[in-house]
Symmetry: C3
């Protein structure tokens, strides 16, 4: 039986997009599973997971900045916790990714990387990875 | 072999966010599967599923109201069905969640709950849960 | 062991929403798996996958056009590649869908179809499908 791998992500600013591809690859390799599916899961409600370009770093800047326009920090929210924008972004980006595993590796396009999206940092965060064979 | 569990969700207003965590937990327990993955699926195109905070109820109010600003009910749409906003929100929030199952339970963060998002109620809705071992 | 099915999608304009339901159904049937989960995966960072209505074609027009208002092509982005809008839409819509398989078919609601969303075409695209039994 495979176990769930957990790794830590330490964020350093309020809004941050961190490449976790090598951590996910390593968790999948550690499972010893050659073919199947993996779930990468973010157990936080003010952060999310996305797949984006690994080449031009301006793409992740544009993603973070445009999300901040669509869902502004000060958006006249009723919650007094001052992080409703982070919760809304989390629901839009999503907390869970499903990946295809082939030859012990996640199937990703040439330009794809996996990103942890911090929307209310800095914080200590965690990401879980579960791989099942099939 | 595990079967797909189906449960009913009855919504009472046009826009509604309903906590379905205990229903999903119960479907997972019923499967008898200790470790694996679960897919929680919404078979409707004017509703969706999200993971959000279970503590401050104002968070779900802010999510619903801000989504209504980003995708207004009367947005000058070409469809004459008067629910294009609901379809667009459904694609933004998503119709499918993948969860990690450990010790017979979904792995969720302390503040996470699973929500059914009604965008065009009131209606009788359904949610499917499938658990596979691994 | 099941293998990953790959099929080609040829897009013909910059923004396009293509019904891939029958291609996904065929990949699932080819797997010979009766019950389980399927992951449908888009290996591109300027495209995505969504589940939407299969009946009124105006719904996909409204989705594409409203996404273009929320994330405009010329949004003052820092990347000079002129397709930051496509990357942002890809993260909002998502690159991966998880489906429940029952009786050799994906469990879908009456009005649901699977769509490939091109945000930066025309291009030659690919979609992967992996089915696991359980």
């Amino acid at each position: 039986m495979s176990v769930t791998e957990i790794f830590d992500v330490r964020t350093t600013t309020r809004i941050e997009t961190i490449d976790i591809t090598s951590l996910v690859r390593s968790a999948i390799r550690k499972s010893g599973i050659d073919g199947g599916l993996a779930c990468v899961f973010c157990p936080h409600t003010t952060a999310g997971l996305t797949i984006q370009e690994n080449s031009d770093p301006k793409v992740k800047t544009d993603l973070a900045e445009h999300l901040g326009k669509v869902v502004p920090h000060d958006g006249g929210y009723v919650s007094t916790e001052a992080n409703s924008d982070a919760h809304i972004k989390s629901s839009l980006i999503g907390a869970s990714l499903t990946l295809i595993i082939d030859a012990g590796k996640p199937v990703l396009g040439t330009w794809q990387a996996l990103y942890f999206c911090e929307f209310d940092g800095p914080r200590s965060r965690r990401v879980m990875v579960k791989v099942i064979a099939g």
